[in-house]
């Protein structure tokens, strides 16, 4: 009887874990000692960091999408279906299609979803760059922009924490290039006391916003959108009028967690911060956006967590070795600061980030990473 690893989710974390394990245990898979299965709803993978560029018409959306099968190690089985429920007592996942998938080890990599519907009026009125369709719609809206008030609003939690800062700074640079900047009033709103949850990013962003004449409203938690008057109301009682509203909607976890009785508030899995096991379940791991860890919901976090979980799974699947590799909260995020310059932050649980001076070379490295990512996903590098 082979040892069975089941990975639920075919996004960044799911593909990386499956490919890393398959690459390490290829002979065992070949000899039917180990079986690796990925269960995913979609048969294509979308590189989400590209959405920001799509919005400014800097990237062809088709370049962001590849078939899941092409990205998976040939010895990984792919099942296209939706996971409906995890039955942890019998080590089985039940799919929407009615298939029972048994496992010895389970990886939950179901990501996060935007929830614009949580704010009345937001879904009807706002643009966002958190789905491919949304980014394309925003691109068309920006093409038609002649001037007026642009408001940026942010819900928490959300994936890619630096994206609202990047969008705002890119919008400023884009408008200057088009000779539109004087005709635009840009207002950036944010839910906490400063312009970003990470103090170093907040200090950097606040200085840049001031230098570029971008207004900032802090302690701004979206309450509702008046779609007639084009005004965004906050829970704190402040209003922002707009002609174009760009939002980062609040996010939630996949409904699978709640349906299975495994996830807590927001459908995030309560996760051990070092071993990434779902609390109370030694054979279930959570990776990527779906955890409740106090770390960024970002591709790099999914990547670094995947390496830890994959290393532990290789030991468990091949020798029954107890997990010993631990996650230290490592994260790395590029920050585009315009159309030709970027900076980055690198940090972990113990070491808060600093923000280096933006440069063209960091921007160039980010552009290069957009290609390297495909090799990362395949666990080639």
């Amino acid at each position: 009887m082979p040892k069975r690893l089941l990975v639920v989710g075919s996004g960044t974390a799911g593909l990386m874990v499956a490919n890393l394990v398959a690459r390490a245990l290829e002979p065992k898979i070949q000899h039917h000692d180990v079986e690796v299965t990925v269960l995913g709803e979609r048969d294509d993978y979308i590189y989400q960091p590209g959405f920001l560029y799509v919005a400014f018409d800097l990237m062809d959306p088709r370049s962001l999408v590849r078939p899941v099968r092409d990205l998976l190690h040939p010895r990984v089985r792919f099942v296209q279906d939706r996971a409906e429920r995890v039955d942890a007592a019998s080590n089985t996942v039940v799919t929407q299609g009615g298939v029972n998938l048994p496992y010895d080890y389970l990886v939950l990599a179901t990501g996060s979803r935007i929830r614009p519907e949580d704010v009345p009026g937001l879904a009807q009125e706002a643009h966002w760059f958190y789905t491919l369709e949304g980014a394309e719609k925003l691109r068309e809206a920006l093409k038609g922009l002649q001037g007026g008030r642009v408001a940026i609003s942010v819900g928490i939690p959300h994936k890619c924490p630096v994206a609202p800062v990047e969008f705002t700074l890119m919008l400023d640079a884009w408008a200057r290039n088009r000779g539109l900047r004087d005709a635009l009033e840009i207002t950036y709103t944010y839910p906490v006391a400063r312009a970003h949850t990470i103090p170093a990013v907040a200090a950097f962003a606040e200085a840049e916003f001031e230098r570029r004449d971008i207004k900032v409203e802090t302690f701004f938690n979206m309450e509702a959108v008046d779609t007639e008057a084009h005004v965004l109301h906050s829970q704190e009682g402040t209003d922002v009028a707009y002609d174009l509203l760009v939002t980062v909607p609040p996010h939630g976890g996949d409904a699978l967690g709640g349906a299975s009785g495994l996830a807590g508030a927001g459908n995030w899995y309560p996760t051990d911060r070092q071993l990434l096991q779902v609390q109370g379940h030694e054979n279930i791991f959570a990776v990527g956006d779906t955890t409740d860890l106090p770390v960024s919901k970002a591709g790099s976090v999914a990547h670094f967590e995947s390496e830890v979980v994959a290393d532990n799974l290789v030991g468990l699947l091949s020798e029954g070795r107890r997990p010993g590799h631990t996650y230290a909260g490592r994260a790395f995020c590029f920050i585009e600061t315009g159309l030709e310059e970027a900076t980055y932050i690198s940090f972990d649980f113990q070491h808060p980030p600093v923000v280096p001076t933006p440069s063209r070379s960091i921007h160039f490295f980010k552009q290069t990473y957009n290609q390297i990512h495909w090799a990362n996903l395949k666990a080639v590098i």
Binding site: V192, A193, F219, N221, E223, Q235, E236, P294
Partner: protein, 77 residues
């Protein structure tokens, strides 16, 4: 001493976790109810009172309790 209508244990979570828990809880509370957030994040001691002031809600008290701070806010509008 004021007794909270709802207590949220946010110990172990970092900024902005405890603040966002308070903001969410006040949003769904009834006017007059008191929400208590237990936090071990030192930033919460300044961030939550600052938010209450901005939002026009009443800061009831901040006390040290159970290895952290208990911050109580009454929804007044």
């Amino acid at each position: 001493m004021v007794t909270a209508d709802r207590v949220i244990d946010a110990r172990g979570s970092f900024c902005p976790g405890p603040l966002m828990e308070m903001i969410r809880a006040i949003k769904t509370a009834e006017v007059g109810q008191v929400v208590e957030v237990l936090t071990s994040d030192s930033g919460s001691r300044t961030d939550i009172p600052k938010w209450a002031e901005k939002a026009g809600q009443e800061l009831v008290e901040v006390v040290s309790r159970d290895g952290g701070d208990a911050i109580l806010v009454r929804k007044v509008k």
